[in-house]
């Protein structure tokens, strides 16, 4: 039996060749970033541009440190909203997909409205939500509206991608609906669900920011997007940049965490995760 095949020569060479490539993929963006910041700093200093027009990176950084008590509080608020929206989207999206999978009638009745909710720009819905719902609820609802659809459609796709023969096997052994769902459909859909969650993570941040901006003038908000709007009115441009930096960092961390989760869950069996270490 050919149990353990030795890696082919070509594969071995590819591995040796991929190390500099891997370094380049890390180093190049870093170099570009450094060069960009340096140029920015240089141009601002050269022309002596006032910081209410364009703050230098160093000023942005100083503001970030100086305003940290305010900004960190806002970051926490926005992250909490994002997390709530994301959790609602994850649970709601998966649950709705499961319901649709169990009942075609329900799917036919409700799916068009899920699409309508998705294609209507959330920035246009947000002001209405803010009228009818308490502010915090409205903000979470916005995050949910933007983020749940990718979870719903990906999970639906996953649940429908079950191997036909495997389904036949479950039928042969008299599997109940619940067993079919638990042991076959959900595991088979897992890679799709995780893909949907990865998109939903970034989208719920966007949803939270949109809602905060829309709520901004109402004044009760304290999230990062609200800080950006507020700083804009006050011409506190360095703080706008600092808040933007934090939002961007939050987005990156959310994506990285979800990608890591997906990798850890799938690494033993799914092609998408195997490609990396094989």
């Amino acid at each position: 039996m050919n149990t353990l095949q030795p890696p082919s020569l070509a594969a071995g060479q590819a591995k040796v060749g991929s190390r500099p490539l891997f370094l380049a993929r890390i180093l190049l963006p870093v170099i570009v970033l450094a060069a960009g910041i340096a140029t920015w700093e240089f141009v601002v200093r050269l022309h002596d541009i006032p910081s209410y027009v364009l703050p230098a990176p160093s000023v942005v950084f100083q503001t970030l440190l100086a305003d940290w008590p305010v900004l960190s509080q806002s970051l926490l608020t926005t992250l909490l909203t994002t997390l709530e929206g994301f959790l609602a989207a994850a649970v709601g999206g998966v649950a709705l997909a499961l319901l649709f999978n169990q009942s075609k009638w329900l799917e036919y009745s409700l799916f068009p409205y899920a699409v309508i909710l998705q294609v209507t720009p959330v920035i246009a819905i947000a002001p209405l939500l803010l009228i009818y719902l308490p502010q915090q609820t409205a903000v979470v609802a916005c995050a949910w509206i933007v983020a749940f659809f990718p979870v719903l459609s990906n999970t639906t796709l996953g649940l429908n991608s079950v191997d036909r023969n495997l389904a036949g096997l479950f039928q042969l052994y008299g599997a109940s609906r619940l067993q079919m769902l638990r042991y076959l459909k959900l595991p088979a859909a897992l890679p799709f669900i995780l893909g949907g969650l990865r998109i939903a993570g970034g989208l719920s941040l966007i949803g939270a920011v949109v809602a905060e901006i829309a709520a901004g003038s109402a004044g009760a908000g304290s999230g990062l997007a609200y800080r950006i709007a507020e700083s804009g009115y006050r011409l506190n441009i360095p703080r706008m940049f600092a808040a933007l930096l934090l939002l961007s960092a939050a987005g990156i961390v959310i994506y990285a965490l979800l990608a890591l989760t997906s990798y850890l869950v799938l690494r033993r069996w799914h092609e998408s995760a195997i490609g990396k270490d094989n």
Binding site: N2, D163, L169, G174, Y183, P187
Partner: protein, 276 residues
């Protein structure tokens, strides 16, 4: 849902028969007549091959016997022994049948052990007994030390063995095999042919084996049933008389060559004078 297999509860087959098909016809939803009418009796403990061109309904016949689909006309009767002790929780129509597909059809997200345990898990067998049965089945197919491996870590032949172990873990009376070795290379296939023959000799299961290989059908079975092109009917039937136990020597014997020639001849009408 009235599964064909459940008919055995009130319609006892003739003594000694494992499977009995009477006038079985299958018409697909799109109006294509896939099979029949087909009459087929398989004795208990018999090794029968269904041989025929692609699309002749061999696989459909197997799915009908397994109860995975219902015949449009006719009856499918699958017997169950009355006095044999069944594994706990493994009673019920489907459980006296094991099915092996052309693809290994394993769950990629879990280990070999969990894949083989699946039929027992679905029937809520006690954990301890299930564990014993799983390791026994894995030993039977020679994969005991690969219980914790994941399917993707195995070769094609080994995956097929896992699939076989899963079919055997409920100790079924009837094993239905749908071109199980068709996707494997010839050397692996010969090996698995011999292993399957050894299993059959020791366990005396009824095996219905669908294949499109004349050589495989002659080598393995006691009876080869040649089916016609769609709709599939029985075109010819051959009893393969060979000294038991069969082994590699049979492959090179004059008898084997003779049978292969005869069976190929019977298959000829389904591929001659037809555009494919």
């Amino acid at each position: 849902m009235v599964e064909p297999a459940a008919l055995s509860d009130f319609e006892a087959p003739r003594a000694g028969l494992a499977v009995s098909l009477r006038g079985v016809t299958k018409v697909y939803d799109n109006g294509v007549m896939a099979l029949g009418p087909l009459d087929l009796d398989v004795r208990k403990g018999e090794f029968v091959s269904l041989l025929g061109p692609s699309g002749c309904g061999k696989s459909t016949a197997l799915r009908l016997i397994a109860g995975l689909s219902a015949p449009t006309l006719g009856s499918v009767v699958v017997s169950r022994p009355v006095s044999v002790a069944r594994p706990a929780g493994a009673a019920g129509a489907g459980h006296s049948i094991g099915f092996v597909f052309q693809e290994p059809t394993l769950m990629p997200w879990t280990s070999v052990r969990e894949n083989v345990r699946l039929p027992l898990k679905l029937s809520h067998a006690p954990a301890r007994e299930a564990a014993e049965r799983v390791s026994a089945a894995l030993t039977l197919v020679g994969l005991a030390e690969f219980a914790d491996a994941y399917p993707r870590e195995l070769s094609g032949g080994m995956k097929m063995r896992v699939s076989l172990a899963r079919a055997l873990v409920t100790d079924p009376d009837i094993l239905l095999m749908d071109e199980p070795f068709a996707a494997l290379d010839e050397i692996t296939r010969f090996r698995l042919n011999n292993d399957l023959l050894a299993l059959w000799r020791n366990l005396r299961k009824t095996i219905i084996f669908v294949t499109h290989s004349v050589f495989e059908s002659v080598y393995l079975s006691q009876r080869v049933i040649v089916m016609t092109a769609r709709p599939g009917r029985i075109g010819a039937e051959f009893r393969i008389e060979a000294p038991e136990p069969r082994a590699e020597a049979f492959r090179t014997s004059a008898d084997y060559a003779g049978y292969c020639r005869t069976v190929s001849g019977a298959l000829a009408p389904s591929y001659q004078g037809q555009s494919v």
